[in-house]
């Protein structure tokens, strides 16, 4: 279904071997050892952080890798270490991320359908502009945006973070869906049209359901990127009551010394939890999603 996966080879078959090389058992073992070693080196810091967060504060730097005493005190202390509880920051982050997901799904899929399927003058130009804006650094627009948003009183509100998503400004996702929709057979639209479907009907009844994988990819990436976003909330959210999790972590870091590393680690890890969760549940869409846009533009 995905463009990249369409070729002769089943993408996830574990037996695909390029060049038909038959590796000896020894070579295979060496390869596995290399890969396992690399995996461990890469993930070790995160695992260390996790284990440290489960140790009593005074043990973090003194005892070995494995906790001698297991405790959740860092999580309990960290949760209420700041002026507001982390529950509030998580709620703020979740609200912003959910709104961003809805905004991107609606606005990007509509634009993508129009570009991929409808005939109108200027279609190529529109696609060209979409591609250009993917490359555009946010910094070129951030100052005037800030001036305008602050003059209408939107500093310390979530609007500056959410509104752009409803206006399809994440051109990357428009492009991703254009690519996906183009790969769907045209005959479907033609048939629907003969049955009396208008453009909106074709979009809602035919294309949208078939675009589910691309929608999932968009939703997950939007969620992760919004959840991790630091620059925009740093600019707009000064009031601690409006802080998202990354901003809260940053001020937590500023306010603690070595003394409460345990709770800082604990809260930092909780911040990753939704991302890792999404990753585990939906990695197919993530991995294939970037492969689709990436492999052949």
């Amino acid at each position: 279904m995905l463009r990249t996966a369409s070729k002769r080879v089943d993408p996830d078959a574990e037996t695909v071997s390029f060049a038909g090389t038959r590796a000896s058992g020894f070579t295979k073992t060496v390869r596995h050892l290399l890969l396992i070693g690399a995996t461990l080196v890469m993930l070790y810091p995160v695992i260390w952080m996790l284990l440290s967060s489960l140790k009593p504060q005074e043990d973090i730097f003194d005892t070995g890798f494995w906790p001698q005493t297991w405790t959740l005190e860092n999580y309990v202390n960290g949760w209420n270490a700041l002026q507001y509880g982390f529950g509030r920051f998580f709620a703020n982050s979740a609200f912003v991320a959910a709104a961003a997901v809805i905004g991107n799904l609606a606005s990007c899929s509509l634009a993508a359908f129009a570009i991929a399927r409808l005939r109108f003058r200027g279609r190529k130009a529109v696609l060209g502009v979409v591609l250009l804006t993917i490359m555009l650094p946010y910094h070129v627009v951030v100052v005037p945006q800030y001036v305008v948003f602050s003059s209408i009183g939107w500093v310390n509100t979530f609007w500056p973070l959410i509104l752009p998503k409803f206006l399809a400004t994440d051109a990357f996702f428009v492009f991703l869906m254009v690519q996906f929709i183009r790969a769907l057979p045209r005959e479907l639209d033609e048939a629907a049209r003969l049955d009396g479907c208008g453009p909106f009907g074709i979009y809602a009844r035919i294309i949208l359901p078939l675009t589910l994988p691309a929608l999932a990819t968009t939703a997950i990436f939007t969620f992760i990127w919004t959840w991790n976003d630091f620059f925009t909330p740093l600019i707009y959210l000064n009031d601690p009551a409006t802080h998202t999790v990354p901003i809260a972590l940053s001020s937590f870091l500023d306010s603690t010394g070595q003394s409460s590393y345990g709770s800082l680690f604990a809260m930092s890890l909780l911040a990753l939890a939704p991302i890792v969760g999404f990753f585990i549940v939906a990695q197919r869409y993530l991995v294939e999603g970037i492969a689709t846009t990436g492999a052949k533009g």
Binding site: T39, L110, F120, V126, V141, V143, V147, R193, S250
Partner: protein
């Protein structure tokens, strides 16, 4: 993409309806393009020629901001730091990505597991959490020093030392090689097997198959990754902010371009100066991308071009 429909009156009516629907569907995008992108872009170009302390009205200063940039030691430091970061970390990151993609493409058992394990860091790399972790890993009491101690090397604070602080950020970017790796893997899958079979018949060894088939056919994907990761790296912000506590220190050794822009624009509220910086950044990215596209003629190979 011509569709076969008879040219009747109903057809042209439908065409009109279709065009109307298209622009209706593009309305949110058009609004965003105008209000969030195009107008702010023009405004920021204008502001870059003004002195604008936010609370007072902007006053026209001509090229002053740009001239000041050329003499601003911190700006030049930021430029140097960013260039080093980009031009060291991205080639390293892409080399790791390519090497592991080639290794994983050999049909190993457990390939999906490895792919996931390597991919995960690229989702986490931009987060505040990982930056906090990095501060710890490469700090005085960090686990990097613990590892060094095992082989008898006495560590130091890699974050606190101006000559090594940037390297820790480079390592962080290399750590996120998973996403270009997945793109490489997808590209490798598109290489038709027949090529390898034919080459094997001709007696080509593993190395010559890699150099003569795999790498040339993969160049479009390499090109794509180069463009994407370079643009991405130029705009990195979070790790430098968190690791240096927002200062870019020690001695501006981690002062990323975007961090300096943030300091000028959003802590000192010199909006004109920050706008000029933004346009210089855009210019750098454009020049870089253009050079890449021009250069691509000489090394990117498209199989479908005859």
């Amino acid at each position: 993409m011509a569709t076969r429909t008879r040219p009747t009156r109903g057809r042209s009516e439908y065409a009109r309806k279709e065009a109307r629907a298209a622009w209706l569907m593009l309305t949110p995008w058009l609004l965003g393009l105008a209000l969030i992108t195009a107008i702010p872009m023009v405004a920021s170009l204008f502001l870059s020629f003004t002195s604008y302390p936010l609370l007072a009205a902007p006053t026209w200063v001509g090229l002053d901001n740009y001239l000041k940039l050329a003499d601003d030691p911190r700006f030049l430091a930021a430029l140097g730091v960013t260039f080093r970061y980009v031009f060291i970390s991205v080639p390293l990151q892409l080399s790791f990505a390519l090497a592991l993609a080639l290794l994983l493409n050999r049909g190993l058992r457990g390939m999906r597991f490895y792919r996931s394990a390597f991919y995960l860091p690229s989702l986490l790399g931009a987060s505040v959490t990982i930056a906090i972790l990095w501060r710890q890993v490469f700090g005085k009491d960090g686990i990097f020093n613990d590892v060094l101690a095992l082989v008898g090397i006495e560590g130091m604070s890699w974050i606190g030392n101006p000559s090594t602080a940037l390297s820790t950020l480079i390592v962080l970017n290399v750590w996120t090689f998973g996403s270009p790796m997945v793109i490489f893997l997808a590209g490798l899958r598109q290489i038709p097997r027949e090529y390898y079979e034919a080459a094997a018949v001709d007696g080509a060894g593993r190395f010559s198959r890699l150099v003569r088939i795999t790498l040339p056919l993969l160049t479009p994907v390499v090109f794509f990754n180069v463009i994407l990761q370079f643009i991405h790296a130029f705009q990195a912000f979070t790790p430098s902010y968190i690791i240096s506590g927002g200062t870019g220190g020690p001695v501006d050794s981690t002062l990323f371009y975007t961090l300096y822009l943030y300091q000028r624009g959003f802590t000192q509220f010199q909006m004109g100066y920050a706008s000029a910086m933004a346009w210089v950044l855009l210019l750098i990215i454009c020049v870089f991308t253009a050079v890449n596209f021009l250069g691509s003629r000489y090394w990117v190979f498209y199989a479908d071009e005859k």
